[in-house]
C-alpha cells in the first residue's frame, strides 16, 4: 500500500453504535464487494473502510476461479450480508438469515420494482429472514417496508454505480424522519462528500461499493469515504445551524470603536 496521510483516530464515540436486528456494529460504513479487481484490493479496502459488514452475491460455482472471497472477508473479520439471488441457497451457504433484498425493475436504471419489492419482502420476513431491502428514495415505500417487518431500509441516493450522489436530499431526510429502523443509504455515492451528506441528513449507515472498488486508488477512497461517514455522523449529532437568506455577523457589533473619519 502507498504511504497515505498519518492515521486519524476514529473521531466518533465508541459508544455510538449501529444497531440492526439486535446486532451491533461500530462501523457505519458497509462495504459492497462488487467490482474489485482482485482479492488484495478488496482486503485493503475492508481495512481502510473499517468495514464490519460486507455484501456478497451468490452465483454458479466456477471451478476455474481461484480462492474464495469468503476467506478474504474472514481474514478481515467482517460479517457477510448476502444479496438476494437465491436466498434459500444463501441461508444454506453462509448460515445466515440476513439478506439484502434487491428486486430490480429496469435494466438501464437498475431501479427497484416497488410493487414486487414489497411482496418479496413480506414473503421473506414471513420465512424468518432478516430483510434489508434496497429501495427507491420514496418515504411512503420506506415506511411500508418498515411496517412489514424489514430490519432496515436501504434507499438509493441515485442509481447503482452512477456516482451521482444524493439526488433528492429532501426525500432522504423525510425517510429518516419517519424511520424506526436504521436507514442505510445504499446507492449512488461517488465520493466522500456524498457519504458525509447522507450521514448529515441522519442516515444510520452508508453502503458503498463502486465508488470504492472502481476508484483509481480503492484503498484511499475507502479511507476517504469512511472519514466522510464519520464526519457526517459527528456533524449530524452536533446539529447544524439553520440556513439563512442573509448574513448574520459572527462578531458582535457592540463596542465597535469609532476610528474612521466621522461625517
Amino acid at each position: 500500500m502507498s504511504a497515505g496521510p498519518p492515521d486519524v483516530p476514529a473521531p466518533v464515540d465508541e459508544s455510538d453504535r449501529l444497531e440492526i436486528a439486535g446486532r451491533s456494529f461500530s462501523s457505519r460504513l458497509i462495504l459492497g464487494t462488487g467490482g474489485f479487481v482482485n482479492h488484495e484490493l478488496l482486503a485493503a479496502a475492508c481495512r481502510e473502510a473499517r468495514a464490519e459488514l460486507c455484501t456478497v452475491a451468490l452465483r454458479r460455482l466456477d471451478p476455474s476461479t481461484p480462492g474464495s472471497i469468503l476467506d478474504v472477508l474472514d481474514e478481515a473479520g467482517v460479517a457477510v450480508l448476502p444479496n438476494t439471488a437465491g436466498c434459500f441457497t444463501a441461508r444454506e451457504a453462509f448460515g445466515t438469515d440476513w439478506l439484502k433484498l434487491e428486486v430490480i425493475g429496469d435494466d438501464r436504471t437498475l431501479l427497484p420494482d416497488a410493487v414486487e419489492l414489497v411482496a418479496a419482502a413480506e414473503e421473506l420476513v414471513d420465512d424468518g429472514f432478516i430483510v434489508l431491502p434496497y429501495t427507491t428514495d420514496d418515504p411512503v415505500l420506506a415506511r411500508r417496508l418498515q411496517d412489514i417487518g424489514c430490519a432496515a431500509v436501504m434507499p438509493l441516493g441515485s442509481p447503482i454505480g452512477s456516482g451521482m450522489g444524493i439526488c433528492n436530499p429532501y426525500n432522504l431526510s423525510i425517510i429518516v424522519e419517519y424511520a424506526e429502523v436504521p436507514v442505510i443509504l445504499d446507492a449512488g455515492v461517488g465520493t466522500a462528500s456524498d457519504a458525509a451528506l447522507a450521514m448529515e441528513l441522519g442516515c444510520d449507515a452508508v453502503l458503498c461499493a463502486s465508488a470504492i472498488s472502481r476508484a483509481h486508488d480503492a484503498a484511499a477512497m475507502a479511507r476517504a469515504i469512511r472519514l466522510g461517514v464519520d464526519a457526517g455522523r459527528l456533524a449530524f449529532g452536533a446539529g447544524r445551524i439553520p440556513r439563512r437568506r442573509y448574513a448574520q455577523a459572527s462578531t458582535p457589533m457592540a463596542g465597535l470603536p469609532a476610528l474612521g473619519p466621522s461625517s
Binding site: F36, V56, L61, D71, L81, N83, T89, A93, E102
Partner: protein, 68 residues
C-alpha cells in the same frame, strides 16, 4: 443418466449423488460457502452424500462472489 449441472448438460453414472457431482466440480467436501439445490430445492450439506440424482435432475451449485 442425463443431468444439468449449472446449466450444462452432463452424463452422470448411475447412482450419482450430490456429493459425486461436487467431486466432478473439484469442490472439497468441507469447502465453505457452497450451497446446492436440486430441482429447485436446497439440499443441506449433511445430505450431500445421501441425495441421489435422477435422470433429468437439475443441479445448481452456487458460491459467493464479489457483489451485492
Amino acid at each position: 443418466m442425463n443431468a444439468t449441472v449449472n446449466g450444462e448438460a452432463r452424463v452422470l453414472p448411475a447412482g450419482a449423488t450430490v456429493a459425486s457431482v461436487l467431486v466432478l466440480l473439484d469442490v472439497a467436501p468441507d469447502a465453505r460457502g457452497i450451497a446446492v439445490a436440486v430441482d429447485g430445492e436446497v439440499v443441506s450439506r449433511s445430505r450431500w452424500d445421501a441425495t441421489a440424482l435422477h435422470d433429468g435432475s437439475t443441479v445448481e451449485v452456487v458460491t459467493a462472489i464479489g457483489g451485492g
